[in-house]
Point group: C2
Chain length 335, copies 2
């Protein structure tokens, strides 16, 4: 690839725009990380377009300041964002960047592909993430070529934090109305939702059950994900244990649906990071599918968004380059 000297000098920015925080790395074409920045939510759906855009720009500006550079030094910005890929939805970030003086090209990438490249330099492989939602992606030649699940709480997200919390709520409801088994989840769910014990019957149903139903419908459905930790805590309870095992099986099933026999599996999200029956069943099922699958845990998509940024700049990142970049990004994050 022939580039002019000025092109070569211009820096690259990688962005990991997540629902909890936005993180940015400032990179050279040689794969050195010059600066790192972190700000609030970079998800335009949950945070709003204005705030998400401002937060991402804030993270990028911090990375520039850490390196004593400014917007004019940046030639390319690659942003990994949730649910991205549809065209015509970049304006929220493009406008915020332009207001802040950036004139660089902006490319969007999948947040799951960023997670994948946080764990490996292999161009072919898989990533699974189970946080509030759950998805599996397949990468081929460094590009996202297949997605399984990631359908959201109403249509899928099987084995996700929402799924676990929803099951905990259902177990409590079935315990209280006498159709299901008694479970330690019931008192845990009632306590988590601030429902006081009340033994009397009302309207053909326990008052406690009516209160639980009302409280659940008062919130947004996706908020049931905050009940997920109760299932892990109650893992000695047979009902809770059964839910954890089923979640592990569902996640392995989604991976199996994507699997075509090559490459490592990068694993992210809070659900699979938690030790216990869920992670054990998942690992067993993956090994049963193919004992040769290398499983690599990954905490976030920061390193992978840097890899994607370099790839878009025409810089190949091989295994030694990935290791050097990982060390350089880690050092910048620690500064």
């Amino acid at each position: 690839m022939i580039t002019s000297q000025s092109d070569r000098d211009r820096l690259i920015v990688g962005i990991d725009a997540g629902g909890t925080s936005s993180r940015a790395t400032l990179l050279t074409r040689e794969g050195e990380c010059l600066g790192y920045g972190k700000s609030g939510s970079g998800n335009p759906t949950s945070a709003g377009e204005q705030l998400a855009g401002d937060n991402v720009v804030d993270a990028v500006s911090q990375a520039l300041r850490a390196a004593g550079r400014d917007a004019g030094d940046v030639g390319l910005i690659v942003a990994a964002a949730a649910g991205h890929g549809a065209s015509g939805e970049e304006h929220w970030l493009l406008q915020a960047l332009q207001r802040a003086g950036f004139v660089s090209e902006l490319v969007f990438e999948s947040d799951l592909l960023a997670l994948y490249f946080s764990g490996t330099a292999e161009p072919d492989g898989y990533a699974i993430v189970s946080g509030t939602g759950a998805s599996v992606i397949r990468a081929q030649a460094g590009r996202l070529v297949g997605t399984v699940d990631g359908l959201g709480w109403l249509l899928g997200d099987r084995g996700s934090g929402f799924w676990l919390g929803h099951r905990a709520a259902l177990a409590a409801v079935e315990d209280l109305d006498g159709r299901g088994e008694p479970t330690a989840l019931t008192s845990a769910v009632l306590e988590a939702l601030d429902i006081e014990p009340a033994p009397s019957l009302g309207y053909g149903r326990p008052v406690l059950l009516e209160a639980l139903i009302r409280q659940i419908y008062r919130g947004r459905p996706v908020e049931l994900a905050r009940l997920a930790p109760l299932v892990f805590t109650a893992s000695d309870d047979p009902i809770a244990r059964g839910i954890l095992i089923e979640a592990g099986e569902l996640l392995a099933h989604s991976f199996a649906a994507a699997y075509q026999g090559t490459g490592p599996l990068v694993v992210g999200g809070s659900v699979l990071a938690q030790p216990g029956p869920l992670a054990e069943v998942f690992a067993d099922r993956v090994a049963a599918l193919d004992a040769g699958v290398r499983v690599i845990p990954s905490a976030d998509g920061v390193l992978g968004s840097a890899v994607l940024a370099l790839r878009h700049a025409g810089v190949e990142v091989d295994a030694p380059g990935h290791a050097r970049l990982a060390a350089s990004v880690a050092a910048a994050r620690a500064r």
Copy 2:
């Protein structure tokens, strides 16, 4: 029961306050229906408290006008309303009635108990309704003593219109992403949601699937109930047929969970009124549980709310009385 002459002369109002409409009957203690009125939604949750209250008062006022009576002639008002039974939630209707000059006692009753008494005079028995939601109730000595399901779309309503529509959406999603079987439901769902065919692939998923997912999340979850008729229309399709059969089984299962061996089963709601595999499987399962269960279809809760109103006034409604009242209410509705 000893009552004063003035008590005896005062009339009774029965109200069936539903999400689609509010209906009122004006009754004598002898079980004659003097007038009938109908207005808009009487559901304070969906229509808002002000509008629901005004609509119910409008229906009652029409019933009074039809009989040449006024608010002062009414001694007791019994309102059957969805999801009722919790105390302290009557104010929306009480205030609307007081503004319109009513000083009568107001009693709330279950809409499902009203549906039950639309079908029978038996004090002990069961009602099942499957419309947007699904519930079974058990009546004993004329009172609601047990409820199965009725937990809403997020926690239950198994075999309901929502359940059918949700399953239709899931079948379309699984067909489009290749995990499920091809089904006639896919084109029906896409057409119902105004999604244009688009063959190309985007972001590791068919564009059509992305469009479908977006469209579903754009609406409120409960709006999936409007896809339910597609499942009935496609009943020759194996996937659709399987959904209908499972719904029939789930509804029969809810009935079985409530069943304690006595009394008829009153059946209401649009789902079970539709002929085909669902209703057939439901009837088969109910007969298998107990061949002696008398199944009585019922279109609405108008007659039953009149029965409940008379019962609250201390008037017993036996089988001949129920038949006379039914004829009198039908005549008032036809006027």
